[in-house]
């Protein structure tokens, strides 16, 4: 397994504030990294519920609360705490810190189409549709 994975230097520790998360795109994946004070944890960046950005959630212990509908994801394991979840867990990535830089271990092959039922795949489609209508009806 580890042959297909690589440690990637992501960013300086200080760029992720205490008890907050930041999202980062690595090899076609959106990953959310969190600073828990004594370590950094990383999981898939999108909530399996409606694709909410987990990096923007409130951290409570080792759990992040999705900002959209308050679904909870355990950061160490990626386990989703809601029984209604379509998947039992999302991907969690190993992390370490080296010379003040946070590293994440990611698979080498790019992510296959992530099965996110939420709006993340085509975030602005409904809005585009409305916009085109407005343009059509605009007077000369």
């Amino acid at each position: 397994m580890s042959a297909n994975k690589q440690w990637i230097r992501i960013t300086e520790m200080r760029n992720i504030p205490l008890r907050e998360g930041r999202s980062v795109n690595v090899a076609g994946r959106e990953i959310a990294i969190f600073n828990l004070g004594d370590r950094f944890l990383a999981v898939d960046g999108r909530c399996p519920h409606k694709g909410g950005p987990l990096a923007e959630g409130i951290v409570t212990g080792t759990i992040v609360v999705c900002p959209l509908h308050a679904w909870k994801v355990e950061l160490e394991s990626g386990v989703v705490k809601n029984s209604a979840s379509p998947v039992p867990c999302i991907e969690a990535f190993r992390t370490r810190v080296e010379a003040g830089v946070v590293l994440i271990e990611v698979p080498v092959e790019p992510a296959t189409m992530q099965e996110n039922p939420g709006a993340s795949c085509q975030p602005d489609r409904p809005i585009q549709w409305v916009k085109s209508r407005i343009v059509c009806e605009e007077r000369p």
């Binding site: 760029n15 930041r22 909410g52 923007e56 409570t60 900002p67």
Partner: protein, 818 residues
């Protein structure tokens, strides 16, 4: 009972009635008198009380110290009770002597009072361990209401308080002082806190919890002297060490008050010796409570007083029969968030004793049961006392536990409290302090129509003692009372078990300025998405600008000052005060929308313009290009004032609602609120800008303004209540300001004004704002002004971010090598 009494008077009984003199107006004496009154009106009663207060609940003094209860809330028997029963109450009189032969007592006021029967209920006094300097100023005991008041006068934020004694009383005193803002250290002689109630392990858990609350604990320290020149400045210990102190509280135990017993020639050991009928060695003199010794034991807790009182009442009224067989000692620590319960004999040394244990250091839970000959002998619960009632029951009934050995610590599923209550026999005592049975509670519910716990307390006294049966009482009410209403005071959340008004008070008195600090001292140290934003609001409201703004405790909207949308983009709503804009401003908005490719531009329901679908990284640029302040459309804060065109253009307008609305928005903007706050100002009662369904509305009339509050047109539709009618615009704005700040300070987080006003009632709101004493109004205005002065437009953070990556997308330092 009153009827029976007057009959006896009528029959000429008054002259032949015996005189009963009670020395001591505390819980034991008065509870015993209450029982005596139940038998028959045989006595003409005089009660002497050394304190100048009517009978109060001494156990709750620590709650008074902690500010959880006011002094008058712990009163048990008001003056009218004494009057109603024809009791001659003499307060402030200390009985100094007894003449057993001539049957008189002498008071320190020189009075000599004859008796036929004497009841000694003198209680106990604090034990002062031998040490130097106890007479110094700033050395206190903690025994009665006056001591409590003195401590409250002395306690102040930052003062160093040292409490000698790590027992029940000492710990409760320590916590009370700490809530008052003191820096508290507990000094304990033994190696375990509450060693009479807890074993070494349990004491360790308790110590950790106390330290977690911020109370320092020094173990195995023998105090030799209180240091200081005339007043307490520190303490010296036998091991040579010392601590500093601004004041010292001695709570090292109690000593039964037996002097009167001695003077009366009674048999006295540690306490006045009584037999199973509660008789002393003199047939006309009785004793009850902490001053007595029964079967070699002196009790310092409340439940035995009531049990003794019942027996004594029977004996003294000539119904000698019931016997007192001792009480199983049960104690509960009354510190919010620190659950400790202990009962019976927890020692494992006696032969045939098994100890059954459960502990989880991470959760801070420790439970131990001692089982002897198949029966429960003792119990210790730390961190979770929810099962205490079951264990007390097993102790009292001496239930054979052989068949239940697997479920001792974990009752099987379905065996919840509700069922427990149903299975309980009617004769079972629910409130051990006041001896109230399940049957008595059910009877009271049916006969008196009781629906709340407060009513139940009033009517039956159940749950007014130590309070450990509150939960069972509530389950009973839920099961039996047709319209049971739960108490509305709920804790904020599981992470921090305090109601919000309490928390605001704690934050204020303790000067806590950061969310994490509050969670660490009063909560579980972690917090969640419910309590963190609520606490963020509280520290901001109390110390606005002068607090430690912790963005990790804020919802994402308040981290980046924009409203998160379903796809993770944000919406931007600039402030357009009163809905009045200009061609220039509109042009700028249009330019911004084009430059940043904003997917949707929309007019909102609040006379504003919304730019939707903005990327986080674009926010600072957009704000700078707009050159307009934040409209706070993303937060629990001041949203907007919707206005009509008022007198400027409208044919009907009688007040300049546009200017008034703009001014109101200017005065309130940038402040955080318990929930969003929407306002309106209309120039005439036609109400075109719908001010009567806003949180605060100004409704113009000919020559006056109506200020209305608590309106809503959202999830709920509610017409606002009239707060006040005033003549000038400035007066209207002042009235609105009073309500504005009052709501900020008193509403729970996420409580809209319509719920807030409904909960308090508009009369109370008026009384505490526009009709409040001038000083109160000035206080509200001053605190509003202070917050306003320290607040600022959140979008200024676009230029000077709080954190380098607040709005910046992080790019990895390297790429994946294929």
């Amino acid at each position: 009972m009153m009827r029976a009494r007057s009959t006896e008077f009528f029959l000429g009984g008054a002259l032949t009635m015996q005189k009963l003199v009670v020395v001591g107006n505390g819980m034991a004496g008065v509870a015993c008198v209450e029982q005596i009154l139940k038998h028959a009106p045989r006595f003409e009663i005089t009660i002497f009380g050394e304190e100048t207060h009517v009978n109060y609940n001494r156990i709750l003094l620590s709650s008074v110290l902690a500010g959880e209860k006011a002094a008058d809330e712990i009163q048990l028997n008001g003056l009218e009770w004494y009057q109603k029963h024809g009791i001659d109450l003499r307060l402030g009189v200390r009985i100094t002597d007894v003449d057993a032969e001539h049957k008189t007592v002498t008071g320190d006021d020189g009075s000599i009072t004859p008796f036929d029967k004497l009841l000694i209920a003198t209680g106990s006094t604090p034990l002062i361990p031998p040490m130097d300097g106890v007479r110094k100023e700033g050395v206190f005991v903690f025994r009665n209401l006056d001591d409590t008041r003195a401590l409250l006068d002395h306690a102040a934020p930052g003062k160093k308080a040292v409490v000698i004694g790590g027992g029940l009383l000492g710990l409760e005193a320590a916590r009370g002082l700490q809530v008052q803002g003191c820096d508290v250290t507990v000094v304990h002689l033994m190696d375990t806190l509450m060693e009479r109630q807890l074993d070494f392990t349990g004491g360790g858990y308790l110590k950790a919890k106390m330290e977690c609350l911020g109370v320092k604990v020094l173990m195995e320290r023998n105090t030799t002297a209180i240091l200081g020149n005339g007043k307490a400045e520190g303490m010296a210990f036998k091991d040579g060490s010392s601590v500093e102190a601004d004041f010292v509280v001695i709570a090292a135990g109690i000593r039964p008050n037996v002097e009167l017993g001695r003077k009366a020639g009674l048999q006295v050991h540690r306490g006045v010796v009584v037999n199973d009928y509660m008789e002393t060695s003199n047939p006309d003199i009785f004793a009850v409570g902490e001053c007595v010794e029964h079967n070699g034991t002196c009790y310092g807790l409340v439940a035995p007083l009531f049990e003794q009182g019942k027996v004594l009442a029977a004996t003294i009224t000539g119904n000698r029969g019931p016997v007192y067989g001792g009480t199983i000692q049960a104690a509960k620590l009354k510190i919010m968030g620190v659950d400790v319960f202990s009962a019976g004999d927890f020692s494992e040394k006696a032969p045939g004793t098994d100890a059954v244990r459960y502990e989880d250091p991470a959760l801070g839970i420790y439970k131990k049961l001692t089982v002897r000959d198949g029966k429960l002998a003792g119990v210790i619960l730390v961190g979770d006392t929810s099962d205490s009632h079951r264990y007390v029951d097993w102790l009292r009934s001496q239930t054979d536990l052989t068949a239940m050995r697997r479920q001792l610590l974990f009752p099987g599923p379905g065996n919840d409290a509700g069922l427990d209550v149903a299975e309980m026999a009617d004769s079972k005592v629910v409130c051990g302090c006041n001896g109230v049975t399940k049957g008595a509670i059910i009877q009271a519910v049916h006969e008196k129509g009781i629906n709340t716990l407060a009513q139940l307390k009033d009517c039956t006294r159940a749950s007014t003692g130590c309070g450990s049966c509150t939960e069972v009482c509530q389950h009973l009410l839920k099961a039996v009372a047709p319209e049971f209403q739960e108490e509305t005071k709920k804790s904020l959340c599981k992470c921090i078990p305090f109601p919000e008004d309490k928390l605001r008070e704690i934050l204020r008195s303790q000067r806590l300025r950061s969310v994490q600090e509050v969670l660490e001292i009063y909560g579980n140290g972690v917090g969640c998405e419910v309590c963190k934003p609520a606490l963020s609001y509280m520290v901001d409201m109390l110390w606005c600008g002068d607090h430690d703004e912790d963005r990790s405790a804020r919802f994402i909207n308040d981290r980046v000052h924009a409203n998160i949308q379903k796809d993770g983009t944000f919406s931007v709503v600039p402030r357009i005060r009163g809905g009045v804009t200009s061609a220039k401003e509109l042009r700028r908005i249009a330019d911004v929308a084009e430059k940043y490719n904003v997917p949707m531009v929309k007019i909102t329901g609040s006379q504003r313009i919304d730019l939707l679908g903005v990327k986080k990284a674009d926010l600072p640029g957009i704000w700078a290009d707009l050159g307009m302040p934040s409209g706070q459309a993303y937060t629990k804060g001041v949203r907007m004032v919707k206005t009509c065109v008022g007198t400027d253009f409208c044919r009907f307008g009688v007040q300049d609602s546009t200017s008034a609305g703009i001014e109101m928005e200017r005065r309130f903007e940038n402040l955080y609120m318990p929930h969003k706050l929407k306002m309106g100002a209309v120039g005439c009662p036609r109400n075109c800008a719908e001010a009567t369904v806003k949180d605060i509305g100004l409704v113009g009339q000919e020559g006056s303004w109506q200020v209305v509050v608590g309106g809503a047109a959202g999830k709920k539709v509610r017409k606002a209540d009239l707060l006040v009618t005033v003549e000038t615009t400035e007066e209207a704005l002042q009235a609105a300001t009073l309500f504005f700040q009052y709501y900020r300070e008193n509403a729970n987080f996420l409580e809209r004004t319509y719920d807030f006003v409904e909960r308090l009632g508009i009369e109370k709101v008026r009384r505490e704002t526009v009709y409040a004493p001038l000083a109160v109004q000035q206080g509200l205005r001053e605190r509003y002004r202070r917050s306003k002065r320290l607040s600022e437009d959140a979008w200024l953070e676009g230029d000077t971010p709080r954190h380098p990556t607040q709005f910046v997308q992080i790019e990895p330092l390297e790429k994946v090598q294929a």
